[in-house]
Amino acid sequence: MKERVLQVLRDYKSAVDYEKETALISGGIIDSMEWVELIEKLEKAFQVTIPLEQLTAENFNSADAIVALMEELTKNA
């Protein structure tokens, strides 16, 4: 799962150390329009819909947080 998430992230925006970065959203590395596009790419890649209440900065600030979110959503899908 982590490799797939990292692949989506790297395909979307390169030159970011996704293994270490923990403030992708709150640190402005991914801006608001990019966030929207990334959400769409993740939803497409994992065949899920991310509910409104899960669209928090914390859930997208790091690759690990995104992995946890995707795992939760795919488990419930």
């Binding site: 959203i25 608001s32 329009m33 966030w35 929207v36 959400i39 769409e40 509910p51 409104l52 209440e53 669209l55 928090t56 900065a57």
Partner: protein, 495 residues
């Protein structure tokens, strides 16, 4: 209403007397009333005095997107100082250029910064505010300069636009009357208030005695809805990208608030058809306003696109203080129509005083109080104003002048087209002819012959593209304008 309406700060002072408990500014730290805001303005003014700021001095202030920024703006007004907003995170190079041109007395930034003038962080400035505010109640004279708004000119260098106090009040009234603003209006502004659009929305509410709610964008989306839950917001000021974010991320939740919105105004760039339809479908009963204007001549036309559909290019009717003229290429007023277009020009109190320290540049745009635009258009028999293109983009096909939008509009309406742009190409017979660049819609049949047939049903022979070129994407500027010069480079023989 307060009798002195020559400046925004005088209006705020007036409301602090007549409506002291009414909401004025809401930000991440909560709400302040007009009574509280006015006391803070006086303290901020006293604070600025301690930094040596007096009448006529320039104060550069980086946007903090909260009450402090607006209070500093109003405090500068009260002292007769000139407020110069800088966007948040402004580059040092840009800041230094503005600093050098204005010879500012004080620079206020969000983070520590090095500068060639006295400088301070906004947080430190506020921490050191004196307890007592200034006691003088001398409001600025209307025709003096209130602020300089820097935009990026065509050369890429910043150019300062001088706006007087009276112009700011006129701009505010163009909005107030344009949106039929109620006094109990509470407007959510998630756009930067250092930019003319967000700043003028704020002024409109302050002049009207209404409230502004400041936010940094509409993401995280839950924060946006939490603000709507906490405060009785009745209006919003959105950019096209903010609408797009709401469309993609709100998961239908925005429609739950539909009964509460009086209006939404959209600005900063052209709103796309998809985003317009989304707002119409989501906020069915709200008035949905698109304003036309520039930093030089702001808020001159307005249209409620939820109620009025006058066709491609309509920007609505003139606002309260705006008078719109159509001129020929020499700047002489002319009678215009769909078949006889001219260049739009604007007069009225909202107009800029000029470009700061650039009289030659000013003279090219502003003459006898009229701001001349490069927008080609006409006014119809009902007084509705239409823009059909930019002066430099017009295609002259054997004397017939064609705006690119006249070709793009019908093409965009076809199912097979995702995006398109029209530019002038050289033509041996007629001098110029339209060339259409198209991006096919995913899954649609990419068939230029069929496209030409369908276009032939909508366009006359003069407007039919001479050539159709397929392209992966249409280049756009940051504010959504088509970069036609980039496309012109792609024409055969232009590399």
């Amino acid at each position: 209403m307060h009798r002195n309406r020559e400046s925004v700060v005088a209006c705020v002072a007036g409301w602090s007397e007549s409506r002291p408990d009414a909401a004025c500014i809401v930000d991440r730290n909560g709400m302040i009333t007009y009574g509280e805001a006015w006391r803070e303005v006086c303290r901020y003014a006293a604070g600025l005095r301690e930094y040596g700021v007096f009448d006529g001095d320039y104060v550069l202030t980086e946007c903090t997107q909260d009450r402090r920024f607006l209070l500093l703006d109003l405090a500068c007004e009260l002292l007769g100082a000139v407020f110069v907003p800088l966007e948040r995170g402004c580059s040092k190079e840009r800041r230094d250029t503005v600093l050098s041109e204005t010879e500012a007395k004080l620079l206020l930034t969000e983070q520590d910064a090095e500068a060639a003038c006295r400088h301070e962080t906004v947080a430190s400035f506020v921490d050191r505010l004196p307890r007592q505010g200034i006691r003088e109640r001398t409001f600025p004279v209307g025709d003096t300069v209130a602020e300089i708004l820097y935009t990026t000119g065509t050369t890429g260098l910043p150019k300062g636009i001088e706006i007087t106090h009276l112009a700011n009040v006129a701009l505010a009234e163009n909005i107030i009357y344009g949106v039929e603003m109620r006094q109990d209006n509470m407007e959510l502004i998630p756009l930067p208030v250092s930019h003319s659009h967000g700043l003028r929305c704020s002024y409109a509410n302050l002049v009207n005695g209404s409230a502004v709610v400041l936010m940094e964008g509409v993401t995280p989306i839950l924060d946006f809805f939490s603000v709507l839950d906490r405060y009785p917001v009745t209006a919003m000021d959105l950019s096209p990208s903010a609408v797009l974010i709401l469309m993609k991320l709100s998961r239908g939740k925005l429609s739950e608030y539909r009964d509460r919105f009086d209006y939404v105004q959209v600005g900063t760039a052209k709103l796309g058809t998809r985003e317009k339809d989304y707002l119409r479908e989501t906020l069915t009963d709200a008035r949905l306003y698109d304003f036309y204007g520039s930093t030089e001549s702001g808020r001159t036309c307005v249209i409620d696109f939820n109620r009025i559909r006058k066709g491609e290019g309509c920007i609505g009717t003139a606002t309260k203080h705006a008078h719109i003229l159509v001129t020929d290429e020499k700047g002489e007023e002319m009678v215009s129509s769909r078949d006889r277009m001219g260049l739009l020009a604007f007069s009225g109190e909202m107009n800029m005083r000029g470009y700061f320290k650039h009289p030659e540049l000013t003279a090219t745009v502003l003459r006898n109080g009229i701001v001349y635009s490069g927008d080609l258009g006409y006014i119809d028999e009902d007084g509705a104003v239409f823009i059909m293109g930019r002066q430099g983009d017009i295609i002259n096909r054997g004397g017939i002048k064609i705006a690119p939008e006249e070709v793009e509009g019908p093409a965009r309406g076809l199912e097979m087209i995702d995006d398109c742009a029209c530019v002038a190409m050289e033509d041996d017979i007629s001098g110029q002819a339209p060339a259409l660049f198209v991006v096919w819609k995913k899954g649609a049949e990419a068939d230029p012959v069929k496209l030409r047939t369908l276009l032939g049903e909508k366009l006359d022979k003069y407007r039919m593209p001479k050539e159709i070129y397929e392209i992966d994407h249409i280049p756009h500027s940051e504010n959504g304008k088509i970069l036609r010069r980039e496309l012109r480079k792609l024409l055969p023989g232009k590399e």
